[in-house]
Amino acid sequence: MLIATLFLILALSCARPAETPQAKPVKGGTLVVAISANPDGLDPHKTVAAVTFEVVKNLYDTLVESDTLGNIVPGLAEKWEASPDGLRWTFYLRKGVKFHNGREMTSADVKASFERILNPETKAPRAKDYAVIQNIETPDNYTVVFHLKEPQAAFLSNLAYGWASIVPVEEKDLRNRPVGTGPFRFVEWVPDSHVKLERFPDYFIKGQPYLDTVIFKIMPDPAAKLAALKAGEVDVVDQVPPQEVEELKKNPEIKLVQAPSNGIYIMALNNARPPFDKKEVRQAISYAVDKRGVIEAAQWGQGAPIGSHMPPVSPFYVDLTDKYPYSPDKARELLAQAGYSEGFEVTLIMPQPYDFHIRNCEVIADYLKKIGIKVKLETYEWGTWLEKVYKGRDYQATCIGHTGRLDPDPFLNRYVSDSKENYMNYNNPRYDEIMRQAAVATDFQKRKELYAEAQRLLAEDAVALYLMAPLWTVGMRKEVEGWKIYPVDIFDLRTVYKTSG
């Protein structure tokens, strides 16, 4: 999934989760969080923007949730079970969960919420993810049964995303007056200025949240945001640019929470257009660029190199980083084999205003020059990039990123030959076959093997230049505790508290 705004954070799966140590939580207080852009509406069914979900996660809940390691844990549903054929999923809801308007949440609300998502009039961007639902039964007030058209391995994890939140459908203006079951309820939203939330005393997790008030301040300028953090005007900054990390580390009033993100940066190649229609040329690109060099130069070392379309934090990850070790000689050899011994000219498109992709492209251009490839750098504004590069596939190469998901299927199936998201024009019948099998398989080991083969295929065919999984840094004042990082686009403020002020 494309990174509209990059707010993906994931705890290291091999080390302790990225959490601040649990001292005794302090009740009360106001937390001010600086976010980079104005949410595009507070209706969870009508948006996909990461920055929106940073706010919205605190207003609504989902049937199930993801913990910091990517495991699915109970949310509004206490437990669930799937039928052996994978076509029937039954969820048992918690009792006594209240909406902010006082009404109790029941199975009817779950049914109504999903029907709302699937209703074309709602224009939900993620409706497709739930199209596998045939119909929903509510045998009693606290039991919901989903009947699926076919088994879908990603179904459970798809219910953990913010865009599957349970809403009271009688509220007509959720975009501007959100009402949910979440730990905070809505106070006000002054667009381009701030969103203010206050504690919901009847939240279903007793004792949470700790904070009285949360204010999300919309501050697009990175320098101003950091100045505000240092001055104590904001308590948390959503994203610290990599070049500022070293300096902030030295500041005694600030602490940083860092984790590798559930996302990747790549240079996508159009496999259907010369010169990247030839496998040797694509492989040459992978040999010609030193990934660690790009990470150092473009991201100040804040990232881990990758070899295929999967971040290291995923349980399905296979380490293919050394498939194409840095070797300009090998690159030139392959180019000659492909008939490009004189090199060639290529246009590299950079999406504005995404600085990290622009920097990556600039560094890559330098590496390519060394093997005789002349790069012309062009910048497209985001809307134009979406139209011409992503939809229109009218490009040769472009630097972009993709947000990881809880399940590898939605992340990897863009490479299926007839996928609408296959903007790299990859065409491999074996890959299509693997993805088809893995999407319906229920055995974790079997899926792991299949996705491992998928990653190896992508690496072998050098479909794109797989650069890195960036490191994510959230900056906050020392008094803020309980901050947890998740593999999905959210800021979960339930566990956060301040030790003073």
């Binding site: 494309l2 104005n38 595009d40 509406g41 996909v48 074309p120 224009k123 961007p125 993620r126 409706a127 497709k128 975009r175 501007n176 002054v190 667009p191 381009d192 200025s193 701030h194 301040k217 919309i218 501050m219 697009p220 300028d221 320098a223 101003a224 100045a227 505000a228 240092k230 001055a231 005007e233 504004e381 985001w382 809307g383 134009t384 979406l386 139209e387 011409k388 992503y390 939809k391 609408k420 998201e421």
Partner: protein, 310 residues
């Protein structure tokens, strides 16, 4: 007078046509930007129909213009609210900023420009020339960030950004406006000072000024009654342009200081191809510019009776 009014209307009409037409031809589909990249073709088609984007453009243009003349500027696609309501909401921010910046610019540039001209070629003059050169060269956003670092972070005198309305808390409102207004105002002041200085110098060398002095008029009478009024004409022109620029929404300053003004609204409207909002904002800003110029023309007539307004 009538001629001027007619040309005002013509300009507004031309701008409306140009804006509308340009928005039709640039790449970027509003429906796609709303529904995201995974939307099905049917969903896109139905949204386009819902937004009225499937009708031929001449019809849509006429519908839009007639609506506007009746006061209806359309609905924002993205924010699902009337464009006029959105503009009214953001207007106080941009107005406060523009007024304060203009005020700062004027109270600095008038004394500075006049003294600079009177003390021509003196150390004071050279100093002012140097400072104004800096002011012209320095981009306002850089000045803004610098001011934040010095006065918000180091001295903790002013907040780093945000907007508080005058009704809520006048003192806080003022504190939040100081740094952004100064960033804009200082830069504007630099231009105005230069303009006033050169204009004054030109006027002071005129024969009628020497005549006035010879007649025995006191210096300040010479300056204010005779010289200044005549020197003001090019300055007023420049001030009018600067005012239009400030009202147009100083996008970058609004970004740096996190002010919810018209500039940021326009920027996000362009990014999301929110066509009704873009059109509404452009027409609003154009109207402000055109009306400002008209007022400037009226001021000319007051200042210089030789200029007639037919």
């Amino acid at each position: 007078m009538l001629r001027r009014l007619i040309s005002l209307v013509i300009v507004l009409w031309l701008v409306s046509f140009l804006t509308f037409f340009l928005l039709q031809v640039i790449p970027g589909d509003p429906a796609q930007l709303i529904l995201g990249i995974e939307a099905s073709p049917e969903a896109l088609e139905s949204l386009r129909a819902h937004l009225g984007l499937d009708k031929p453009w001449p019809l849509r243009y006429v519908a839009w213009v007639t609506d506007m003349l009746r006061g209806n500027m359309g609905m924002s696609i993205r924010l699902e609210r009337p464009v006029s309501a959105l503009i009214v909401e953001r207007l106080p921010v941009t107005l406060s900023l523009a007024f304060t910046a203009m005020f700062i610019a004027l109270i600095i540039s008038f004394p500075a420009g006049i003294f600079s001209a009177l003390k021509w070629n003196s150390p004071l003059d050279y100093f002012l020339l140097f400072v104004t050169q800096l002011g012209i060269a320095i981009p306002s956003f850089w000045m803004g960030i610098l001011l934040i670092l010095i006065f918000s972070l180091y001295f903790r005198l002013f907040p780093t950004g945000g907007f508080v309305s005058w009704w809520e808390n006048p003192l806080e409102a003022f504190r939040h406006l100081v740094l952004p207004s100064v960033s804009l105002g200082l830069v504007a002041a630099a231009f105005l000072t230069r303009m006033l200085r050169s204009s004054m110098l030109e006027v002071l060398n005129q024969a009628y000024i020497t005549a006035a002095k010879a007649k025995g008029l006191m210096s300040y009478q010479v300056i204010f009654r005779h010289a200044l009024k005549n020197a003001l004409i090019p300055v007023i022109t420049l001030a009018g342009i600067q005012w239009s620029f400030l009202m147009g929404g100083s996008i970058v300053i609004e970004q740096v200081f996190a002010l919810p003004g018209l500039g940021r609204l326009l920027l996000s409207a362009v990014y999301t191809r929110d066509i009704p909002l873009i059109q509404g904002l452009v027409m609003f800003i154009t109207t402000v510019v055109v009306v400002s110029n008209f007022i400037v023309d009226l001021l000319y007539a007051y200042l210089d009776p030789r200029i007639r307004l037919e």
